[in-house]
C-alpha cells in the first residue's frame, strides 16, 4: 500500500515537473504588452524614454554646478590644459582662500543672513496673517483687495523703484536694513503677493467646521489662528520661508540700490550676492592688482570658488528643508485656484 502510494506520488511529481517543463515561446502579444504597456501600466519602452528624458534634463541642471565645483579647485595651468577635464591635478584650496579674503566672506555671510533672514521672518508672519484674513473672513471690499494683489503681482517692479527709492531716501533709510524690513512687515516686500496667494490657498483648505468648533470651545480669533490655522498650514509656511529666503538672498539689484552708497567704506551691509557681482574689482583691490604689483591674478577658478561659496548656504538650507519642501508641494497647496 505504502509503496503504491509512493509510486503515485512520484508519478504526480513527475507529471507536475512535466507540466512545468515545456516552455511556451513568448507570444508576440505578451512581448508587446511588456514593451508598450497596457492601459493602466506603463510599458518598458515608455519607462525607458521617461527615465532617459528625466535624467538628461536633470543632468542639464546638475552639470554646470559640478563643472563650477570641479573648476574651483583648479590652478591656472589646469584650466588651460585641455587634457584635464574634470579632476584637477591637485586640489588647490588656495582658490577658496583667495575668494574668502576678496569677498570679505565671513562678514558678508553674516550680512547676507541678516539681509535675507530678518525680512523673510517678517514676510512669513505678515503674509500668513494677511492670507488668513483673506481666506477665512468675508468682509466688504475683499474682492478689491484680491484685485489689488493680482494687479501688483503683474506690475513690473522697475516701475516703482525710482519713487520708492526716493521715498526711503526721504525717510533717511537708505543704507540701513529698514528698506527691506519695512515693506516686509506690511506684506509688500519682495514678491509678497505670491506668498500671500500661497498662504491664502493653504488656509482655504482648512474646513471652517474646525474654526466653529474652536469658537464653541471658547477660542478667540487669534487662538484659532495660532492653534488651528498655523499648524495645519505648516507646509505653506515652509514653502514661503524657503522661497522668500532664497529670493532675498539672490536679490542683487535691490540691495545694490538700497544698501550701497557712493562711498564704499560707508556701506554697513555687504551681502554675498553683491560681493559676487563686483568680485573682479574687489579681488583686484584685495590683491593690489590695480597698482601693478600683483601677487595673484584673477581667473575662472577664483570666480567659481566665489560662486560656490555664495550658493553653499542655500544648498545646505535646501538639503535640510528639502523633505518638507517636496512634501508640501506634494500636498498641492502652492497654487491658488
Amino acid at each position: 500500500m505504502a509503496e503504491e502510494a509512493k509510486k503515485t506520488k512520484k508519478k504526480e511529481k513527475a507529471e507536475k515537473v512535466k507540466v512545468k517543463k515545456p516552455k511556451t515561446p513568448m507570444s508576440k502579444e505578451k512581448f508587446r504588452k511588456i514593451m508598450m504597456g497596457s492601459k493602466d501600466d506603463m510599458g518598458l519602452l515608455k519607462k525607458i524614454v521617461v527615465y532617459v528624458i528625466l535624467t538628461c534634463v536633470g543632468f542639464v541642471f546638475i552639470y554646470p554646478l559640478l563643472r563650477i565645483f570641479s573648476q574651483s579647485f583648479m590652478s591656472l595651468s589646469d584650466l588651460l590644459d585641455s587634457s584635464i577635464n574634470w579632476i584637477p591635478s591637485s586640489f588647490r584650496l588656495s582658490n577658496y582662500e583667495g575668494a574668502i579674503t576678496a569677498m570679505n566672506y565671513w562678514k558678508s555671510l553674516k550680512d547676507s543672513f541678516i539681509i535675507s533672514g530678518l525680512p523673510t521672518l517678517c514676510q512669513v508672519v505678515s503674509c500668513s496673517v494677511v492670507g488668513y484674513g483673506l481666506a477665512r473672513y468675508n468682509f466688504k471690499g475683499k474682492s478689491l483687495v484680491m484685485g489689488l494683489l493680482i494687479f501688483s503681482f503683474v506690475l513690473p517692479s522697475s516701475l516703482l523703484l525710482t519713487t520708492q527709492y526716493q521715498m526711503y531716501n526721504s525717510f533717511g533709510w537708505t543704507g540701513t536694513i529698514w528698506t527691506f524690513i519695512f515693506p516686509a512687515i506690511l506684506a509688500n516686500g519682495f514678491k509678497s503677493q505670491l506668498f500671500i496667494l500661497i498662504c491664502w490657498s493653504f488656509f482655504k483648505q482648512i474646513p471652517p467646521v474646525l474654526n466653529e468648533a474652536a469658537a464653541i470651545d471658547g477660542a478667540g480669533h487669534f487662538k484659532s489662528f495660532f492653534k488651528i490655522a498655523i499648524p495645519s498650514a505648516a507646509g505653506a509656511l515652509v514653502v514661503v520661508l524657503i522661497f522668500s529666503f532664497v529670493w532675498y538672498w539672490n536679490e542683487q539689484y535691490l540691495s545694490q540700490l538700497y544698501l550701497y552708497q557712493r562711498d564704499a567704506s560707508k556701506n554697513i551691509y555687504t551681502p554675498l550676492i553683491n560681493q559676487l557681482s563686483i568680485f573682479q574689482s574687489s579681488f583686484d583691490s584685495a590683491y593690489g592688482n590695480s597698482t601693478g604689483s600683483s601677487s595673484m591674478t584673477i581667473n575662472d577658478a577664483y570666480r567659481n570658488a566665489a560662486t560656490i561659496l555664495t550658493i553653499t548656504p542655500l544648498l545646505i538650507i535646501y538639503a535640510i528643508l528639502q523633505k518638507q519642501f517636496v512634501e508640501s508641494v506634494d500636498r498641492a497647496g502652492i497654487t491658488g485656484e
Binding site: K39, M42, K47, V50, L54, V60, F61, I62, Y63, P64, L65, R67, I68, S126, V130, Y132, G133, R136, Y137, N138, F139, V145, L148, S152, F153, V154, P156, S157, S158, L159, L160, L161, T162, T163, Q164, Y165, Q166, M167, I185, L186, N188, I196, H221, F243, V246, N250, Q252, Y253, I273, L276, S277, N304, T307, Y318, Q322, V326, V329, A332, I334, T335
Partner: protein, 408 residues
C-alpha cells in the same frame, strides 16, 4: 437650510423681546408686534405673490432663497478680517499707491531735487520723447524682447508641463528627481546665472555655427533666426522653468484620479485623457504660469536687455522724471505681453456655466422683485393701519366733540 434656521433665530429674538417687555408700557409692546409683523416667512410671501415667476420651465416650484441679512455675530466676526488684512492695506497705500501716483506725476513733469524739497514743473510728454531720443537702441531692444517673449514663454510653459507630467508618473527615484528639478528655483539669480551660463560651464554642445549656416541657407531668415535662438538659449530656458514645474506639479496632483479611471473604463487612451481631462483641469494654472513667466522674463537681464538700461536710468543724471517715464513705457510693454498671454489662456466659460449664471441672475431678479413686493405690502399695511387708526380717532373725536356737528 441656513435661511430657515436664521429666520427661526430672528423669530426667537423677537419673541424674547416681546416677553421681556410685557410688563412694561404698552407702546413698546405695540412696537414689538410691528416688528413681528415685518418678518414674513417665505411661504407667506409665496402665497401672496402668485403673479411672480415662481415656477421653472418644467412646472416645478422654484427654490427661492430669501436673503436674510447677516446676523450681527457673523458681521462682527467678519469685521475681524479687516484687522488681519490691515497690514497689507497700509502697506499697499505706502509702498504701492503712493509711489505709483508719484511716478505718474514725475513722468509728466520736470523734477529738480533740492535739499529741502522737490520742485515740479509740468513738462508734458517731454520725458517720454526724451526716452526715445536718448536711447537709439530702444526699438531694437524692444524687438529682441518681443522675440524672446514669443519664443521663450511657450517653450518654458510647454517644457514645464511635460516635465511636471513626467515627475508625476509612477517611477522609481521620484524623490531624487524632484530634488534635482527644484534646484534651479534655489540657485537662479543674476550673478550666479551669468557664471552658469558662461562658456566654460555650460554643456559643450555640437558646434552650432555649421547648423546655423545650414539653417540660414535652407529657411527664410526670420524662421532660421528663431530656430537658432532656441538652440542657443535652450539651457537657459531649462534653468528658468523651475517654478513653473513646481506650479504644474502641484496642480497635477490635485486632479481627481477617479476621473482618469472613469475615462479608461469608457475606453479612453492616455492621449485622449491628456487632452480631455488633464489640460482642461489645469487651464487656470496655464494662465498663472504664462503670466508668471512673462513677468519673470521681463525682469531678467539675460532675456531682456532693457532692464539694464532702466536700472541705469534710475541713477542717471537725467533725473527722476526721465526714469519714471522709462519705467512707464516698459510697464506698458510688459502689460501688453501679459494681456496677450491672458487672452490666449483665459479659460472660456462653457455653456453649462453660462446657464448657471443665467439662472442665478434670474433668481436674483425674482428675489429683488419679491423684496420690492414685500416692502410695498408692508407699506400698504402700515398705511391701512394708520388710516384705520385715524378713522377710529376721528370717530372717537367726532363722538367726543359731540355729534352735534353733523347731526344737523
Amino acid at each position: 437650510m441656513s435661511t430657515k434656521t436664521e429666520e427661526m433665530k430672528e423669530e426667537v429674538n423677537t419673541t424674547e423681546v416681546s416677553t421681556e417687555d410685557t410688563g412694561k408700557k404698552s407702546k413698546k409692546e405695540e412696537k414689538a408686534e410691528k416688528k413681528k409683523k415685518k418678518s414674513y416667512t417665505v411661504d407667506e410671501l409665496l402665497s401672496q405673490n402668485e403673479a411672480l415667476e415662481l415656477f421653472d420651465e418644467y412646472g416645478r416650484k422654484k427654490k427661492i432663497k430669501v436673503k436674510v441679512k447677516q446676523g450681527k455675530l457673523k458681521k462682527r466676526e467678519n469685521r475681524m478680517g479687516y484687522f488681519f488684512v490691515f497690514p497689507y492695506i497700509v502697506g499697499t497705500l505706502i509702498c504701492l499707491a503712493y509711489p505709483l501716483v508719484l511716478s505718474i506725476i514725475y513722468a509728466f513733469s520736470n523734477v529738480k531735487v533740492r535739499p529741502t524739497y522737490t520742485e515740479l514743473t509740468f513738462a508734458g510728454i517731454d520725458n517720454f520723447l526724451n526716452v526715445f531720443d536718448k536711447n537709439p537702441l530702444l526699438l531694437t531692444q524692444l524687438g529682441t524682447l518681443a522675440l524672446n517673449m514669443i519664443l521663450g514663454v511657450p517653450m518654458i510653459v510647454v517644457f514645464a508641463l511635460i516635465m511636471a507630467m513626467m515627475l508625476n508618473m509612477k517611477i522609481k527615484g521620484k524623490g531624487v528627481y524632484r530634488t534635482i528639478f527644484f534646484l534651479p528655483v534655489i540657485i537662479v539669480s543674476g550673478p550666479v546665472m551669468e557664471r552658469i551660463n558662461s562658456d566654460t560651464s555650460t554643456i559643450q554642445a555640437v558646434d552650432t555655427t555649421i547648423i546655423e549656416q545650414a539653417l540660414y541657407n535652407v529657411l527664410p531668415a526670420w524662421i532660421a533666426s528663431g530656430v537658432v535662438w532656441v538652440f542657443t538659449h535652450i539651457i537657459l530656458l531649462l534653468w528658468y522653468s523651475g517654478v513653473q514645474i513646481l506650479i504644474f506639479l502641484a496642480a497635477l496632483q490635485k486632479i481627481d484620479t477617479s476621473l482618469y479611471e472613469a475615462a479608461k473604463i469608457d475606453g479612453g487612451s492616455n492621449w485622449e485623457c491628456f487632452w480631455k481631462i488633464t489640460l482642461p483641469t489645469i487651464k487656470p494654472m496655464l494662465l498663472l504660469n504664462g503670466i508668471y513667466t512673462v513677468v519673470f522674463l521681463s525682469q531678467d537681464t539675460l532675456i531682456s536687455p532693457l532692464t539694464n538700461t532702466i536700472k541705469a536710468a534710475i541713477t542717471s543724471v537725467l533725473g527722476y522724471g526721465y526714469s519714471s517715464a522709462f519705467g512707464w513705457i516698459y510697464a506698458i510693454v510688459v502689460l501688453f505681453f501679459v494681456g496677450i498671454v491672458a487672452i490666449c489662456f483665459i479659460p472660456k466659460k462653457d455653456i453649462y456655466e453660462k446657464q448657471i449664471k443665467k439662472t442665478k441672475k434670474l433668481e436674483k431678479k425674482t428675489r429683488r422683485n419679491l423684496a420690492k413686493h414685500q416692502k410695498q405690502l408692508i407699506k400698504n399695511q402700515i398705511k391701512l393701519q394708520k388710516a384705520i387708526e385715524r378713522e377710529q380717532k376721528m370717530k372717537a373725536a367726532g363722538k367726543d366733540l359731540g355729534g352735534g356737528n353733523y347731526d344737523g
